[in-house]
Each structure stands twice: as structure tokens, then as C-alpha cells.
Amino acid sequence: MKAVFQLKNLSLFYGKTPVLEGVNLSIYEKRVLCVIGPSGAGKSSFLRTLNRMNDLIPSFRLSGSVLFEDHEIYKNGMEVSQVRRRVGMVFQKPCMFPTSILENLLFGIKRLERKGKRELLETAEETLREVSLWDHVKDRLHKPAGTLSQGQQQRLAIGRALTMDPSVLLLDEPTASLDIHSAEAIEKLVKGLKDKMTVVLVTHKLEQVERTGDDFIVIDNGKIREAGSTRELIKETNKEKKVGIPHWRRFTEINLLGMIVDQRGIIGKEVP
């Protein structure tokens, strides 16, 4: 397995307040890594470190290193926009620009790549099929994107990120504001994506980790508390169900797995 991201001794701060400390982690190619943990634990800060979106916060500081495809993305002179093109991101609430469905989908690619109208339309159709929206929107591509349901908007937002052909896709709680059916559609989409790219998914729902994730990390109180493969997690969860410990408690109070993926990608036993 090849690592796309290697985080070494990574610590994040807002001003002097540490948000996340001592992270050593590898994120592997074409796998889905789920990031779980309670609210305010530092999940989103962690995610936004991977495409330098934290740069927008003036007080943000970082120590350690973040290697993306073997290049340090926080070194001086790094083209941040190039990193972001390769590491796409979708936010919790679907962001639709006040324009048509088609314009929203092609918002990035139309402005950043020199493509003809026909080529753009082909990309649009291909992407909309990939996110299972084509049949819903093919007759109303020029209608405002605001007319779509929340779930459809979120799929369109994912599609917009996919048009840039990223090698990693960061999803920050993409199903948090959606109903069950829309959430299922997104989960299905995520599972389909890992043939092409690496996905890092921040979520609150343990079930979602079990359904979609290959690996997981638990962030709590500014540290990675647990890490491992989802298969292990399911085994443990089944065991727990017998003894009747609620899912969530084990992550905040009981360290059952006690595992961490180290920088060589080996699942170890110790939490740093």
C-alpha cells in the first residue's frame, strides 16, 4: 500500500491553544479513512490541514510535517492552489453558488482549465452520472442549483470537486445535514470513489464508519486516541454488542482497541 499523506509529529495550534498534538499517521492510496470523535475534538482542523484550508485562519500555526505524495505541502514557495486542486474538499453544508446546476458543477474546471464547450459538457454528463444525478437533472441543467434538494446539492458539490480530478477527496461531515436516504446515496458514492482516489471522511456516525470506511482514526481532546482498520472495529463492536456497551462510550472512555497506524503504515498497539 502506498501512502498519499504522511503526517509526522504534526501539531496544530490556533494562537497558543493546541488543537491537535503529536500526530503520526499515514493515509493510504485508494482507501477510505474515516475520522471520528466528539464535537470540537479537532476533526475538521485535522481535515483542513491536509489541503491547507486552515491558512484562511490568521492565528493558525503548525509544527511537524505534512507530506503529500512525498512533497512537504507546508514548505515555503509551495503553490497552495495546486495542492488544493489535487486534494479536493466538500463541506458539511452543500455550498451552491447562486447560479445554474451546470454552472455550479463546472465552476472550478471552467475557470481553471482550458476546455472547449463540448468537452465541458461531456465532463458534466460523466460526473453527474458518477454522482447519480444525471437522470434527475439532465432536463434542467440550466435551472438554479437552489431548486435541488439538500442531498442532491451535496452530491452536486461532490461532483464539482470530482470535475477537478483530485487524487484525494476530503469530506467534512457531508451527510450531517441530510436525511437517511440522501445520506445512503452519499455513502454509496463514497464507496464507489475509492477505486479512483483516496477519501478522508469526517463523521459523527459510527455506523457510517462501519459501512464505508477501510480505516479509521478517533480524535479526542486534541490527540489521536485510536486508529485501525474498520474490519477490526466491526469485530470489536460485535463483541461489545453482546456485553451491551454503547457504541460511542468506548471512544470517549474506554480504549478497547489501543491501536495506532504509525508513519510506516503499520498498525501498532500504542497510542502516542
Binding site: 489541503n51 484550508m53 484562511l56 492552489s81 495546486q82 488544493r84 486542486r85 489535487r86 479536493g88 474538499m89 466538500v90 463541506f91 453544508k93 455550498c95 453558488f97 447562486p98 465552476f107 472550478g108 475557470r111 481553471l112 458539490a157 464539482r160 470537486a161 477537478m164
Partner: protein
Amino acid sequence: MRRFKTFFFSLVCCVSAFFSISFLFLILSVIVIKGGSAIHWEFLTQPSRSIGQEGGITYQILGTLLLIFGAGLISLPVALGAVIYETEYLKPPFQKAANILIFSLNGVPTILFGLVGFLIFGLYLRWGISWASGCVILGVMILPTLVISIKEGIQTIPLIYREAALALGMTKAQVIRKVVIPQSFHGWVTGLLLGLGRAAGETAAILFTATAFSGVTLPQSFIEPVSTLQTHLFVLSQEGVGSVSLTHAWGTALVLLFNLSSLAVRFKLTWEGER
């Protein structure tokens, strides 16, 4: 007692509302009654003759339009550039300083714009009393109005729009061009209409710098003067001889008011469209 207080409070509010509205109607009705008879096709389409006693106000209407559009043309790009520099590139403490400076500009009495403008453009640059001087002076004068409105437009752009664009790999400059400027469109249209309204009503700043009273047609070059509705009205009402001049003055006032209130209504519509 509480009931009485509530009643008294609502009574005061009612009287204030009535007073402000009735004052508007008072102005409107006086101008319509006094100037209505002057308004006919020739008045609008013929040049002024015999020191405003005969003819109409064609060149005054065109002069006003020329001046305010010139001012808008100068002010809009400058204001847009200034706001973008301030909001996107300046660090917060400097932003505050820039804000204070812009607001101070708004507090400068307009006659000072006229005097300083005359000194700089009229005397040093030797533009004389000219259309160009007037445009620049009015352009600077309405700058704060535009800046404040555009800034409001930019500050109300949801952060998520910028984030979404940046996350797609756009550079800061691309985000400004593709997101910030188009998404603040309402802000700058509102600012422009408000600014133009202010420029169209302005007399003091252009009295010595841009306008001449009689014998003025359309300017043939940038350094020729124009004639405007507001200065025409000013001179006629001060120095006009005979009742025809005065009726013409009121007629001019009516046209000016019509221009301004149509700007105000457009502003209101834009503002409502934004909500």
C-alpha cells in the same frame, strides 16, 4: 400609567412619521404647483435663452447626466479597487485606519471639494472650469458612498463561497475575480445609484469648477464647462428677473427632483431585490 405611556409613545412615533411624510408632500406639491406650468415639450427639448427667461433646459439635463455619469465612471473602479485592497489584502488594524479615512472624506463639506478641486484641477492642472474637473471632483466626493456600499456587499458574501472556490484550487486573485466581484454586484449597483443621486443633487462642489450659466451647449472637449440643472436652478432663483425666470427655476427643480427620485426609487428596488 403603563397604558398611558404606551399610548403616549405611539402618539409621538405617529406624529414623527406624519411630519416626515408630510414634509415630503409639501416640497413635492409646492414644486409641482409652481413649476408644473413650465413643463412642456419645448422646455425639455430647447436650449436656454435670454438668461433663462426663454427656451428650456435641454443642455442642463444633458450636462447633469454627463457630469454624474463621468463621476460614476471615475468613482466605481476606484472604489471597487480600494475596497478589494482593503478587505482582501490589508491586515485588520490597517483596515480600521482606512475605514476612518474614508469616513472622514464623507464628512468634508462639499464646498471644500469645490475649492480644493478648483485649486488643483482648475489652476495647477489648468483644466479651468471644465467638465473633466467636475467629474473628478464629484467622483471623489461620492467615493465614500460607493466604498461603504461595496464593502457591505463584499462583507455579506458567505464565507463558504470563498472556501468552496479556494478548495477547488482557485488562487486568491481568481476568487476575487470570479466570486467576490460578481457576488457583490448588488452592493456596487446600490452604491453607484446612491452616489449618482448625491452627485446629481450637488451644487457647491461644481459651482466654480465645472459649470457655466449661459451660452453653454454640449462640451466639445474635456476642458469645456457644462451647464447643470442644479446650478441653473441656483442662478435663476438668485438672479432671475421676471416671473418667467422663476417659473423656469421651479420647472428646473421639478425635473431635477424627478431625476433624483427616480434614482432613489431604483435604489429602493435594487435594495429590495437584494433581500
